[in-house]
Structures are given as structure tokens and as C-alpha cells.
Amino acid sequence: MDKTNEMVLRFLSRSSNESFARVTVAAFVAQNDPTLEEITDIKTAISEAVTNSIIHGYEDGLGYVEIKAVLYPRKLIAWVSDQGKGIENIEKARQPLYTSKPELERSGMGFTVMETFMDEVDVTSTPGQGTIVKLIKHFGSPVDKERETK
């Protein structure tokens, strides 16, 4: 299917931009007539990825976070990227409860939340160069991938 729309959003890694980013993407996908739950799922996943870029990628220094979002008739693909420190071990980072910053009261659940609320989550990262998180959401699919952590 051909894409119906596309946007790019680029902003400084300030925490005040977390709500700006998720609300902007939510407004962009609204044209696809998503359910309220689909909008909340997307907002939550975008918030997780953006917060990770700000906290982990730039470690509260300043850099740019970029979101590219492409809409298809029944699908959203979004890329959240930073040019921050990158991830050494992606598999380990994606484990539930793994966090490199327990002293900041992080719970290590960000990737698990993204995986639960989206249909697909791909992480590409190069240490010292940055991270790209690709998020895919299908609209109108009756997925319930909810799971409890043991």
C-alpha cells in the first residue's frame, strides 16, 4: 500500500518536549481515524522512545531527537532517533526490568511497554553514534499482546 502522509519532527532533548512529541504524533495519526486506545498506545510508545533518547542517549546533555512518521491506510511506521551514546547490548537493554540507571528511579520497563502497545519494535544502535527505534502500529487489528511480568 502507498503511504498516505509523512512528517518529520526534530527537537532538542528537553524533557518538556516529551509531551509535545507524543501529542504531535497523536494529532498526526488522528487523520487515520484510530480508536482512543490506539492513540493512547502510540502516545505511550512515542513517549518511551523519546524519553530514552533524552535520558540515556544524551544523558541530560543537549542534542536533537528526530521523529519521522509515515502513515499508510491502516498502519503507522515511526522512527525515533538520536545521535547520542548508543546501546552496547540491545538484547540486554530490551529485557524487562533491565536499566542502566537504577539510581534515577528507572524501572527498565520502557522497551516492554513499547513492545506491548505496538505491533513491532525494532532497535538499531551504534555505540558512540546513536539509536534508532522503529515502531509499527496496525490500525483496527484486534491484538491483545498483554502480558504480565513474572
Binding site: S19, E37, T51, E105, S107, G110
Partner: protein, 135 residues
């Protein structure tokens, strides 16, 4: 048509207000800190809530905490970390942490993160207060 446009505008202005703010209030009742959260709980706002609650938890006569999240419209993993941190403080005093009025979104975050294992869900504030020893 005109009506719809007006409604949409009204809705938007409400949303924006919710997004940029988180409102936290607290009162104390018989050793229980009752906290109400309204708005959006993310990394940006979690620090404010944490400081606000911890300031009140300096009162050593507070043992338990009950949170009313009726007005909480958004929460991500930053909220999970903040709640686990407050649980640690409360449980060290032998107290309980409870939550009431979770929306379906907040409920899902609680379920996937296992938060219900440390924070008990109550059907309303009265039930929480009864269980925590008021009355």
C-alpha cells in the same frame, strides 16, 4: 457543522492543558497520606510528583499512602519507576500503598509492569481507608 468545529476546538484546548500540566494534591487522614494525581505522568512531571510526595512523607506519623488516579490521563514507565520508589519508602515503615480509580490505560501499565504486586487496587477511597485502618 459549525457546532462540530466549536466542539473540536474546545476539546483541543482541554487536551493541551492536560498535557502540559500535572496536578498533585495531598491530604492526611489518620496516618494515611491521600494523594490525588491529575494530568499526565511522564519523565518531565514524575520528578515534581516525587518531590511533592517525599516532602510529605518526612512526616513520621504517616504510615500508609492511598493514591486516587481518577484524573490521571497518561502514564508511561517513568511513572512506574516513581511509584516503585515511593513504595520502597512506605514499605520500610511497614505501611501499605494503594491505588483507586485506575482507567483502562493506567490499569494496563500497572498490569504489564507488575505494579499490582506492590500497590493494591481498591474500589474507591473508602475501601482503601478501611483497609489501612481508618474507622
Amino acid at each position: 457543522m459549525k457546532n462540530i468545529v466549536m466542539n473540536a476546538g474546545k476539546l483541543n484546548s482541554q487536551r493541551v492543558k492536560e498535557v502540559i500540566s500535572l496536578h498533585v494534591t495531598a491530604k492526611k487522614r489518620k496516618g494515611i497520606l491521600i494523594v490525588a494525581l491529575e494530568g499526565e505522568l511522564d519523565h518531565h512531571t514524575a520528578g515534581v510528583v516525587r518531590d511533592f510526595i517525599d516532602k510529605r512523607l518526612e512526616d513520621p506519623t504517616i504510615r500508609n499512602m492511598a493514591m486516587d488516579v481518577t484524573g490521571l490521563t497518561f502514564m508511561d514507565s517513568s511513572g512506574i519507576g516513581m511509584l516503585i520508589g515511593r513504595y520502597k519508602i512506605i514499605s520500610k515503615r511497614g505501611g501499605k500503598l494503594g491505588v483507586t480509580h485506575t482507567s483502562s490505560h493506567i490499569d494496563r501499565i500497572f498490569r504489564i509492569s507488575g505494579l499490582y504486586k506492590i500497590i493494591r487496587a481498591y474500589n474507591g477511597l473508602e475501601e482503601a481507608l478501611n483497609d489501612m485502618g481508618v474507622n
